[in-house]
């Protein structure tokens, strides 16, 4: 009747029968759900589905994973917690076969997992939803899901069968998506669904999710968590990478904490607290800079009724109202894709509003360019330091003058003044604590945090009056993030008004004076940070709440 193979092979469950491989050797017959429960409860707790043993991985001088041993039990959600750079993604990449561990081995369902092969990992039932989606945008959902599931040299694709299976899976797990649509026409949440379907389609019994909520609104996060619980009920086991304590508390059964490549703590969530997690995660006391209230300066930036239209006529900013004063940090929260890009582009000098008033320091902005913005005293910290922040192949001293290369200080009669540039670099390196660099170091070789410091040095040394900080601490470890926040506070104390766009609500609450939420191109009424709470912000981020329509609303506390 039921054929549950003993001796190491994973129990056959309903998910395997949905797997698109009729020659699946591990599956004798299909089983009903009750049979699955029986089999699952029989083997639950008896043997972990995954066992990582002494995994060590080095990249040059850096030890990304240091003798990590970890187990995943059947039917549980394990959260892998740690700050940026702790080694979580590296560990999971080893598990999924993207990297080969220098030492240690992995067992999946009791059998040794061959290293360095995503194919072997998939065959063993491990599926991964990457942080940066691995989807081909110009291809359909069906194409993306089906890729690699049929033998490469097969003469024909079996699209009908595939479509049927996808429909079954989608309905079963509530992951509805249209297989014919091109991925580039999907929303971020839908793309994530496709990624999950990819794993389920291949019969994954262990699902790894790498920072899945980074791109989701709070309500979408809840939907995701519900999906995860459904999957667990169906016999899957889940590893969930995150650095967000709230989410870990909400959905995980157990948590493993990584710090600087080592496993430092492992305990069930029941009975744990956020404080305990934070302590385990960070370890040494990192002095996060304190926000001291400052008296407000004069208005430095004002946008009234600003509209920016994107391609296809869709408004990216929709009659936006914004007011920024000197010596304050206005935090802009919101799920990415709600107008942050357009707002940043306006302040960066990359475009003008299609309608509405845009005033900097009292003067209307009529023409715009990065140079224009710089001239008016706007400092811009771009979102992606690699792509738009620094020129990796140039030296540190060259990147420090990238914006000011034409100024009389660094350039006379069309020639660069080498001595001045060198001295400037030395000064900046010291003042901004840029580590691992001297003026002639190739910027590409710096770590993320130090590269960010180069950008900040370049921007802040011009003493800007308005600063656009776009995801300034993304991808940085706590130490570097603290330094960045410290520098922003310094600039603020010197009179600058700062627009801080960030996906990290915790950071916004920590750093901003006022917070507003950007949703579909409109800004909510800013509230003082003392009066803000996660729940209201979460609601605003998904569109429930009041967004400014009338002109000139101020929103300052009286």
């Amino acid at each position: 009747m039921t054929t549950v193979d003993k001796g190491g092979a994973p129990p056959c469950n309903r998910l395997s029968s949905l797997r698109y491989d009729p020659a699946d050797a591990t599956c004798g017959e299909t089983m009903s759900i009750s049979e699955v429960d029986e089999a699952a409860s029989g083997s639950a707790g008896a043997q972990p589905v995954l066992r990582l043993q002494d995994i060590t991985k080095r990249f040059g001088a850096l030890t990304a994973n240091d003798a990590i041993s970890l187990e995943l039990k059947s039917g549980e959600i394990l959260a892998l917690l740690g700050e940026n750079g702790a080694g979580k993604t590296t560990l999971m990449s080893i598990l999924f076969g993207h990297y080969v561990a220098d030492e240690g081995h992995i067992e999946a369902f009791g059998q040794r997992l061959p290293a360095g092969s995503p194919r072997a990992a998939i065959a063993a039932g491990i599926g991964m939803v990457h942080q940066h989606f691995t989807l081909g945008e110009n291809l359909t959902v069906l194409d993306n899901i089906v890729l690699g599931t049929e033998p490469l040299l097969a003469p024909r694709q079996n699209t009908t069968k595939a479509r049927k299976r996808i429909a079954e899976l989608a309905e079963h797990f509530g992951l509805v998506v249209d297989p014919k649509k091109l991925v580039r026409d999907l929303s971020v949440g839908e793309r994530q669904r496709v990624e999950i379907l990819k794993a389920l389609y291949r019969g994954a019994r262990v699902l790894i999710l790498d920072e899945p909520t980074a791109v989701l609104a709070p309500q979408e996060v809840e939907t995701l968590f519900a999906t995860l619980k459904t999957m667990v009920a169906e016999g899957l086991s889940i590893i969930f990478i995150s650095h967000k304590l709230n989410e870990v508390m909400a959905v995980a059964d157990r948590v493993a904490v990584l710090r600087l490549g080592r496993l430092v703590a492992e305990f069930p969530i029941a009975g744990a607290s956020k404080e305990k997690l934070a302590e385990a995660m960070v370890g040494r006391a990192v002095e996060m800079p304190e926000r001291e209230p400052q008296p407000l300066g004069p208005v430095v930036l004002q946008m009234a009724g600003v509209t920016v239209t994107g391609d296809h006529g869709k408004p990216l900013l929709d009659e936006l109202h914004l007011l920024l004063c000197g010596r304050e940090i206005l935090g802009i929260a919101g799920v990415s894709g709600n107008g942050q890009g357009a707002l940043a582009a306006l302040l960066s000098g990359l475009r003008l509003p299609d309608s509405g008033a845009f005033e900097l320091l009292g003067e209307t902005v009529k023409r715009t360019s990065p140079v224009e913005m710089q001239g008016r005293g706007v400092g811009r910290i771009p979102e992606d330091r690699h792509a738009t922040g620094v020129v990796g192949d140039l030296t540190v001293e060259e990147n420090l003058i990238l914006e000011a290369c034409g100024s009389p200080r660094f350039c006379s009669l069309g020639l660069l003044r080498g001595g001045v540039i060198r001295r400037n670099a030395r000064e900046m390196i010291e003042r901004f604590d840029i580590r691992g660099a001297d003026p002639t170091t190739t910027t590409r070789a710096l770590s993320g945090g130090n590269m960010q410091k180069v950008i900040l040095a370049r921007v802040l040394s011009e003493k800007p009056k308005v600063i656009l900080a776009n995801q300034p601490t993304r991808g940085l470890d706590v130490g570097a993030a603290a330094k960045v926040q410290e520098l922003l506070f310094e600039a603020r104390a010197q009179g600058a008004g700062i627009i801080l766009i960030s996906e990290d609500l915790e950071e916004l609450l920590q750093v901003s004076d006022r917070i507003a939420v950007l949703y579909q191109g409109r800004l909510s009424t800013p509230v003082a940070v003392e009066e803000a709470d996660m729940q209201t912000l979460g609601l605003l981020m998904s569109g429930h709440g009041e967004f400014q329509r009338q002109k000139g609303a101020r929103g300052h506390a009286a």
Binding site: H98, E137, L147
Partner: protein, 313 residues
């Protein structure tokens, strides 16, 4: 008027189909490379090499079809060379391509001169004769135009639906398309990105070489320096014009061949008025125009020109 007369003559249409053949091979070959994410600027040199190798094989006594295979093999070899540099080592696809073109062309000329040092007129070989397809070649107009052509032309025409099917209906074709859009997605499925791209480049280069071989063993029955004359570059323009789709590539090749065939005949008709050099310029000018028209909205494969480095996340 004389212009209309040209369109009526069978010779024109027959020539059109004949001239389209190397363009079809070359464009399909380049299309496969670019779909996989690799710009293959070696096409001009590879076509030269294919032409020389095929001719040399026949000249040394081999038979025509083996010559085609040998030419394809030579093309694949240079494709492998290109792939080693651009795919495995991740070097600039532009410079690699230029290097491969220069190397393949100069090697062809060197070997040619080495085997025939004192020759002023290149010796002729016995080329493919037009093969009339039984019964179909009896048809009134199409019979002579479409069905009495070189076997290589038939091969080119067949290749179009085969490549289309391969790209869009097979798992391998899907993988090739995906590797040109998001190689990470392919790697995450356990398919070796480098091997896949290399295979695509080798296959595409083999096609290109056969396109060159067509010119020597089916049209001109001799090899001479500079015979490819920029057709390779025109194929690159045609790939953009075709939006990387085999069907459109076919149409584009026919369109261009039409202009080339037209140009020769118009030249003969009105050489007094317009100097013939301007007619010879037409294919190149048209290629530039084609690129201008199509580049604005071109949906380049997203990972084209982007080297994939393993383990970089």
């Amino acid at each position: 008027m004389e212009l209309l007369d040209i369109f009526i003559t069978l010779g024109f249409w027959g020539a059109l189909v004949r001239m389209a053949t190397p363009l079809i091979f070359g464009t399909l070959g380049e299309l496969i490379c670019e779909r996989a994410g690799v710009l293959n600027l070696g096409i001009e040199g590879i076509m030269t090499m294919g032409a020389m190798v095929a001719w040399m094989w026949v000249y040394q006594g081999g038979d025509l079809w083996t010559a085609v295979l040998v030419a394809a093999g030579a093309g694949a070899l240079f494709g492998l060379l290109h792939a080693i540099f651009s795919v495995y080592l991740g070097l600039s696809q532009h410079v690699t391509g230029i290097g491969v073109t220069l190397l393949a062309a100069s090697l062809s000329y060197f070997v040619f001169r080495m085997l025939l040092p004192d020759v002023t007129t290149p010796p002729k070989i016995e080329p493919f004769r037009p093969y009339p397809i039984p019964w179909l070649s009896e048809l009134p107009f199409l019979g002579e135009v479409l069905f009495t052509q070189s076997p290589l032309t038939y091969l080119a025409f067949l290749l179009v639906p085969v490549v289309a099917y391969g790209l869009y209906r097979t798992p391998l074709g899907l993988a090739v398309r995906m590797v040109g859009e998001n190689p990470m997605a392919v790697e995450a499925q356990g398919i070796d990105v480098h091997r896949l791209r290399t295979a695509a480049v080798m296959l595409g280069s083999a096609f290109m070489a056969v396109g060159g071989a067509f010119l020597t063993i089916s049209v001109f029955d001799a090899f001479y320096i500079g015979m490819i004359n920029g057709r390779g570059w025109i194929c690159i323009a045609l790939v953009i014009f075709a939006s990387w789709r085999p069907g459109k590539a076919f149409l584009g090749a026919l369109l261009f061949a039409a202009f080339e065939a037209l140009q020769i005949r118009v030249q003969q008709a009105s050489s007094a008025v317009i100097p013939y050099q301007f007619f010879l310029m037409m294919p190149y000018i048209l290629s530039i125009l084609a690129m201008i028209v199509m580049s604005r909205r071109a949906a380049y494969p997203k990972a084209l020109l982007v080297p994939f480095r393993k383990g970089e996340r």
